[in-house]
Amino acid sequence: MKDVIEGRVWTLGPDVDTDQIISGKYLTIIDPEELKKHVFEIALPEFAKEARAGDIIVADENFACGSSREHAPQAMRAIGVGAVVADSFARIFYRNAINLGIPTIEAGGVRAIFEKGDTARIEMTAGRVTNLRTGASVSFPPLPHHLLDLLEAGGLVEKVRRELKARAVAGSPP
């Protein structure tokens, strides 16, 4: 995981629920490459076509509330979203996104300092998000070690894989 992440910004309002990210009719799709064609179809219809790898989502409060569907962060990962920043997150999405290795940052007041198309710089260790167009910034409490370790490993799959491997080496079955 990079300590400094920069990318073009897409903005979203408050309470964007997971239905507006990946609608219920797509939940039987499990191929992320297929899912990404429908990401934000309700909340931000132009996103799926125009988004590029490295783009950053900047949302308002309670981002991705609603269902537990991992399709939402899966589709974002398939697009190559560089980070998701929001004033606040719903809890299941927050865990899902971190577990998939997507830098997910809660920074109160962040939505207000960005407009669509701005460039954001995120400094993970320093705990700061800056709008490179306007110079405005907000700070956030750096992530706890537990979560930084997860992101550092590239997500939960890799973290558990290492743990099971270490256990197998130590002699107990996986």
């Binding site: 629920d17 239905d19 219920g24 009719k25 537990s68």
Partner: protein
């Protein structure tokens, strides 16, 4: 009022202390919790790839894993059929025998409840956001995603940030035609959709003690809409009686300390409280039903179903109102029981006939119209009265469709009148 807000532990903190093997945990602390019960529905199909990528071979404890398919039952698309097949194959390979497949299926949370899979003191996780419902057993029950579930299946544990607790104390008696659903909508109107994010919501007070287990399921179910990690109710005689013959593993009943520390306490008095309705497009856009009735909101569809409100008590109450009356012309009324045993019970009690005689469609058990991906899907600009839990844009189909959330009785009254109606007019 005599109360203490001191140094003691809340109920959720006690459950997480046990799960993490620690004497005491405090809000904000990250702990590793041992899981007592893991539940997967169709989203569990997405746990299979990460489970294998992790290098896992065995499930930590197949006796503590339940699979209950519910969103597309029987499979309504090829995609859903593939998800079901992935789950059946994985279950066979890893020895997961507690699989509630087509024919003995039901909504996953109802399956856990009516089969005693979650008991007091448990830490339970499921791949559905409304897993919170099982907190009514005096457990911490939370929704997680499928990658996280893969780790749980491999290790039998997960990290958790100990949540602060919001205490909701309820007193007073429900008036005629007013239900636990109206209570939880009223609370949502106050807590809002972000008010309990990452937190536990502990329900207490004399009115909560008086609620039946199904009613407790309803109020804990919609703590999800408050953003909560879990809803929770302290176990009592009603809990023990409900679980007496069905508990699948030993109970560890706990109660909150008398001097527990709550982040916030909300006192609700239900004396004189009217029925409530959550208007588009958020479950916290809550108004007294009487105000909405005055606006003559015509509906295209009414839905009596979902994990929130499709238990036998809900369907009996609905049938009592429906009996001898007809669904209004132009209204499609869908009734979907929460489980196959409830379906059977409806059959024996003549409930199915009451609804179908009235012009409703009575479906097999599933999540049905609740999530906009299987049946009962709404076209743009259509309006639906629903006993379910969410009304965000696009939830039941078109993003322009409008969903009003209300009690089962109010849904039935609305289906009869053809516009949003007060069930008390029929009592």
């Amino acid at each position: 009022m005599s109360e203490a807000n001191g140094q003691g532990a809340t109920l959720a903190e006690k459950v997480l202390s046990r799960a993490s093997g620690l004497d005491r945990v405090v809000p904000g602390e990250i702990v590793e919790g041992s899981v007592d019960l893991a539940m997967m529905h169709e989203q569990g199909a997405q746990t299979v790839a990460p489970f294998h990528q992790m290098g896992a071979v065995k499930v930590w404890d197949p006796e503590r894993v339940v699979i209950a398919i519910d969103h597309w039952v029987p499979a309504s698309t090829e995609g859903a059929a593939v998800l079901h097949r992935i789950l059946r194959k994985f279950a066979a390979e890893t020895g997961l025998t507690h699989f509630y497949d087509v024919g003995r299926h039901g909504i996953c949370h109802q399956i856990l409840a009516e089969n005693g899979w979650v008991v007091p003191g448990d830490l339970a996780v499921g791949t559905d956001s409304h897993t919170n419902m099982l907190g009514a057993m005096g457990s911490v029950s939370a929704g997680i995603g499928p990658t996280e579930m893969a780790a749980v299946l491999a290790l039998g544990r997960l990290w958790l940030k100990v949540p602060p607790t919001i205490q909701v104390r309820v007193r007073g008696s429900f008036g005629k035609g007013v239900t636990a659903k109206d209570l939880v909508l009223r609370i949502l109107g106050e807590v809002r959709t972000t008010g309990a994010t990452y937190k536990a919501v502990e329900f207490s007070g004399p009115t909560v003690r008086g609620l039946s287990m199904p009613e407790r399921f309803t109020i804990c179910n919609m703590t999800t809409e408050m953003g909560a990690k879990t809803g929770i109710v302290g176990p009592d005689e009603k809990t023990f009686e409900y679980l007496a013959k069905i508990a699948k593993h030993p109970m560890h009943p706990m109660t909150a300390d008398a001097d527990a520390h709550y982040e916030r306490t909300i006192d609700i008095d239900v004396d004189g409280m009217p029925p409530m309705v959550a208007c588009p497009y958020s479950p916290d856009n809550v108004r007294p039903l009487t105000d909405v009735v005055r606006e003559h909101v015509k509906v295209d569809q009414a839905f009596l179903g979902s994990c929130t409100n499709a238990r036998i008590e809900d369907l009996r109450e609905g049938a009592a109102l429906m009996k001898g009356r007809k669904v209004a012309p132009g209204v499609r009324f869908i009734v979907s029981p929460a489980s196959t045993p409830i379906y059977d019970q409806c059959l024996h009690e003549g409930i199915i006939e009451i609804f179908t005689d009235a012009g409703a469609v009575f479906t097999n058990s599933s999540c049905s119209a609740c999530f906009g991906g299987n049946m009962g899907i709404l076209a743009p600009e259509e309006v639906c009265a629903s006993s379910s839990n969410r009304n965000f844009p696009g939830r039941m189909g078109a993003k322009e469709a409008r969903i009003y959330l209300m009690s089962p009785a109010a849904v039935v009254a609305t289906a009869i009148k053809g516009e949003i109606a007060d069930p008390r007019e029929l009592l």
